[in-house]
Amino acid sequence: MFALIKLMQSLFGALHSEGTPGQLALGIVLGSFLGLTPLLNLHNAVVFALLVLLNVSFAGGMLGWAVFVPIGFLLDPLFDWIGHSLLLAPSLRGLWTSFYNTPIVPLTNFNNTVVLGSVVFALLFAVPLFFAARFAVVRYRATIGERVRQSKFYRAVMASKVYNVYKMFQP
C-alpha cells in the first residue's frame, strides 16, 4: 500500500512539477532502461548517473522504472530470443569477439542474451516512448491536469507527504 502511494506521489509529482514535458519524457525513458534491463549491470550505473546529472525529471525516471519493471519481467523471453539471435549471428561474430576481448566492455555483460536483448529493445523503444510520453504529458496538462490538482484525491495523496516528513524526523 505504501509503495502504491509512493508510486502515485511520483506520478502526480512528476506530472505537476515545473519540468517541461520533454524533461519528464526523457526521465521516463531513462527510467525505462532501469526497468526493462536487468538492474545490476554496468550500463544501469551509467543510466542512473545520467538520470541524476542531466537536467531531466528524476521523478519521471522513478516513474518509468516502476512502470517498466513488470514489463521487463514479462518480456524476458523476447529479450532472450533477441540476444540469442544477435550474439549467434555469424555476421556479427567478429564484432562480439572484438568486444569480448576489449577491456571494460565485458563488464557490461553484453554477452548475456537477456542483457543484450533488453538493452537493444530499450534503445529501440526509447524514441517512440519519448514522443508518446511527451505528447501524453502535454495533453494531460492541457486537459484534466488542473482539475486533478483541485481534486480531493490528489490532495489526499500528496498530503501523505506530511507523513513522510514526520518519518524523516522521527527517532
Binding site: T20, Q23, P38, L40, A49, V52, L53, L54, N55, G72, F73, D76, P77, F79, D80, G83, H84, L87, L88, R93, W96, T97, S98, F99, Y100, N101, T102, P103, I104, V105, P106, L107, N109, N111, N112, T113, V114, V115, G117
Partner: protein, 585 residues
C-alpha cells in the same frame, strides 16, 4: 529561454553514493568473494566446496584462502582434498576484461581422502548442471560392465525350474507335424488329379484288342499308338508328382534335422539355468576383482570428461547458462580469440601435500600444475600436472588444443593401505596390506586405454564365518590362504562407449584349477540331469511327429512308385504287341 543540460549540484550526492559503494565493497568484498567461490566451485565440481576464510588484496593482486575443503563427488563422507592455505598471485589487468589470470598459486598442507561429517556430494544427489550430467554419464558407463558373480555362496549347484513353454523343440515339433499333414493332403489331392484310372483302363482294353488284331488292322494299330501316347503323358504327370514328393520329403527331413537343432538349443538353454561357477581362469579374475577395478576407471573418466566440458577445444562461441538472478538468467556466450587471454588461466601452481597425515611419520610430497585454462586453443599449450615423493610418481597431460582432445594420466603410489574387503562371490575377506597401486589412463578422442594394478606382498586372508561348513568355502580357503602376494591387473581398451575389460590376478589359476578338479564331476552330472529333463519333456512331442513324417513320406513314395510301375508295365506290353503286329524284331 535557455535550458540547463546538467544538474551540477547532483555531483555531490552522486560522489557520496560512490563512496558508500566503495565502503560497502571494502567491508563485504571478502565475504562476497568467498560465497561466490564456494558457489561456483560447488557447481563446477559437483561436490561441496567450503572455504573458511578468503581475503582479497587487490592492491597487491593477492588472494589468500584458508581452510579449503572440497568434498568427494563420489563418496558421501569423504573429502577429495583439504588445504590449509592457498595463496594466489592474481594478474589485475585481465580483470578489466572479466578474465581471471593467476600467475602462480602456492598451496600448502594439502590432504587427500580425509573423512567428513556431512554428505558433501551435490551432483550425485541433484543430477543437475554439467557435473551432474557427467556424473550420470560415467555412472551409466560403469554400469555397462555386467560382471557375473561366482555362484559359490552355498557351495551347491542348483537348477532353476524348467518351463516347458520356453523350450523351442516342442513348438517346432508341432509345426512340423502340421506341415507333414498338410503335405500329405496336398500330395493326395495331386495324385487324385492325375486321373490315371481312365488312362490305364483304356490302355488295358487296347492291349487286349491288339492281341487279337491282325497286322492289317490299321485302326487298332493306330488306337494302340494313341494309347501309348496317353500312357506317356500320364507317366510325365507321375514324374512331376514324384519330383514334388521328393522335394517335400526332403523338406520334411530338414524339419526333422531342425528338431535335433532345437533340442540342442534347449539343452543349452537348460544348461544356462544351472548355477554353475565359471571354471576358466580369466572369468574367475573378472568375477573376483572387476567390480572393484571399475571404480578407479569411472572416477578418472569423470574428471577427464569434466575437463573436456570446461576446457573444450576450438575457438567457436560457447554458450553456458547465465548467472542465476531474479530475472531470467539467459545464456552467457563466450567469444574466444587467438592471441588474446583466456577467460580463466592458471599459469603455474606449486603444491605441497601430505600423505598418511594421521601416521606417526607423515610423508611430504610436492607437485606442480601448469597451464590450466578454460580456453586451451587460446592459451596454446596443454595442461600439465605432476607430483613426486618418496613413494609417489604421478603425472598427466590434458591436450585440448586441437579438434580431438587427448587426456593422459599416470600414477604409481606405494605404501597405500587399502581396507580389507569381502571378495565378491567368495567366502573370504582379503586384506591387501600396504600395496603399490598403478593407474594409467589415456583417452584419445573416444578411444580409451587404461590400466589399473595393485601389487602387494603381504596380503592376509580371513575366512567368512558364514561359510564354515561349506565344501566350496573349504575349497576356496585352501586355494587362497597360502598365497601371500597379490597381483591384480585390470585393462580397459576400445571405443569409450563400449570398451573391453580384462581383469587378471595371480589367484585366478589357483582358484580355477581347484574348482575344476572338485566341481568337474558334479557339473557333468548336473548337465546329464538337465538333459534328461529336457528329453522327458520333448520326447512325447517329437516321437509321434517323427513317426508320422516317416509314415507319410513312405506312403507317398510307395503310392507314386506303384502307379509308375503299372504305367511302365502297360507301356511295355503295348509296345511289345505293337512291334509284333507290324513285324519288327
Amino acid at each position: 529561454m535557455s535550458v540547463k543540460v546538467f544538474r551540477w549540484r547532483a555531483i555531490g550526492p552522486l560522489l557520496i553514493l560512490f563512496v558508500i559503494a566503495c565502503v560497502l565493497w571494502w567491508l563485504f568484498a571478502d565475504g562476497i568473494a568467498r560465497r561466490e567461490s564456494q558457489r561456483v566451485g560447488t557447481q563446477m565440481l559437483g561436490a561441496k566446496v567450503e572455504i573458511q576464510d578468503l581475503h582479497l588484496d587487490l592492491k597487491n593482486g593477492d588472494v589468500s584462502i584458508r581452510g579449503l575443503t572440497i568434498a568427494s563427488p563420489h563418496e558421501a563422507f569423504k573429502n577429495l582434498l583439504q588445504a590449509d592455505e592457498i595463496i594466489a598471485d592474481l594478474d589485475m589487468v585481465p580483470l578489466t576484461e572479466k578474465k581471471i589470470v593467476i600467475d602462480r598459486i602456492v598451496a600448502n598442507g594439502l590432504r587427500f581422502g580425509t573423512p567428513r561429517q556431512t554428505d558433501g556430494r551435490v551432483a550425485a544427489k541433484s543430477g543437475e548442471g554439467i557435473a551432474g550430467r557427467v556424473l550420470a554419464e560415467t555412472r551409466d558407463w560403469a554400469n555397462q560392465f555386467q560382471i557375473p558373480l561366482l555362484q559359490l555362496a552355498t557351495g551347491k549347484i542348483s537348477i532353476d525350474s524348467l518351463d516347458p513353454r520356453r523350450l523351442s523343440t516342442i513348438p517346432a515339433a508341432t509345426a512340423l507335424g502340421e506341415r507333414a499333414d498338410s503335405s500329405r493332403r496336398a500330395w493326395q489331392a495331386a495324385f487324385d488329379t492325375l486321373h490315371l484310372g481312365p488312362a490305364l483302363d483304356s490302355a488295358s482294353a487296347t492291349l487286349e484288342k491288339l492281341k487279337r488284331a491282325r497286322a492289317t488292322d490299321l485302326s487298332t494299330l493306330n488306337e494302340a499308338r494313341q494309347a501309348l501316347d496317353r500312357l506317356k503323358r500320364a507317366r510325365d504327370r507321375v514324374t512331376t508328382l514324384d519330383r514334388n514328393v521328393t522335394q517335400g520329403v526332403s523338406n520334411l527331413k530338414s524339419g526333422l534335422a531342425g528338431l535335433d537343432s532345437a533340442r540342442r538349443r534347449d539343452y543349452a538353454f537348460a544348461r544356462s539355468l544351472l548355477k554353475l561357477p565359471s571354471l576358466d581362469a580369466p572369468a574367475v579374475g573378472a568375477a573376483l576383482f572387476a567390480p572393484g577395478a571399475i571404480k578407479p576407471f569411472e572416477r578418472v573418466l569423470y574428471w577427464a570428461q569434466l575437463a573436456r566440458r570446461y576446457m573444450p577445444p576450438g575457438l567457436l562461441p560457447r554458450a553456458t547458462t547465465g548467472t542465476s538472478r531474479v530475472r531470467r538468467a539467459g545464456e552467457d556466450i563466450r567469444f574466444p580469440k587467438e592471441r588474446a587471454l583466456p577467460r580463466f588461466l592458471l599459469r603455474n601452481a606449486e603444491l605441497s601435500f601430505l600423505l598418511h597425515p594421521n601416521s606417526d611419520q607423515p610423508q611430504r610430497y610436492a607437485g606442480t600444475l601448469s597451464g590450466l585454462t578454460s580456453d586451451p586453443a587460446v592459451y596454446g599449450r596443454p595442461t600439465n600436472f605432476g607430483a613426486t615423493g618418496p613413494q609417489l610418481v604421478a603425472g598427466g597431460l590434458l591436450n585440448h588444443l586441437h579438434g580431438v582432445p587427448v587426456d593422459t594420466a599416470g600414477a604409481t603410489v606405494g605404501g597405500i593401505r587399502f581396507p580389507a574387503f569381502q571378495v565378491p562371490g567368495v567366502p573370504v575377506r582379503l586384506d591387501p596390506g600396504a600395496a603399490v597401486t598403478q593407474l594409467g589412463f589415456n583417452l584419445n578422442g573416444d578411444t580409451i586405454h587404461a590400466r589399473f594394478a595393485i601389487r602387494s606382498t603381504n596380503v592376509r586372508w580371513a575366512r567368512d564365518s558364514g561359510f564354515a561348513n561349506s565344501t566350496i568355502g573349504d575349497l576356496i580357503w585352501r586355494a587362497v590362504s597360502g598365497i601371500s602376494n597379490l597381483d591384480v591387473e585390470a585393462r580397459l581398451s576400445g571405443e569409450l562407449h563400449h570398451p573391453d575389460l580384462a581383469v587378471r590376478s595371480n589367484l585366478d589359476q589357483a582358484i580355477a584349477s581347484r574348482l575344476t578338479a572338485v566341481l568337474g564331476e558334479e557339473v557333468a552330472a548336473a548337465e546329464r540331469q538337465i538333459r534328461q529333463r529336457v528329453d522327458s519333456l520333448v520326447n512325447d512331442k517329437v516321437g509321434p511327429v517323427r513317426a508320422r513324417v516317416n509314415e507319410i513320406q513312405t506312403q507317398a513314395q510307395a503310392q507314386v512308385a506303384q502307379q509308375r510301375a503299372r504305367l511302365d508295365d502297360l507301356q511295355k506290353q503295348l509296345e511289345q504287341q505293337l512291334r509284333q503286329r507290324i513285324g519288327l524284331p
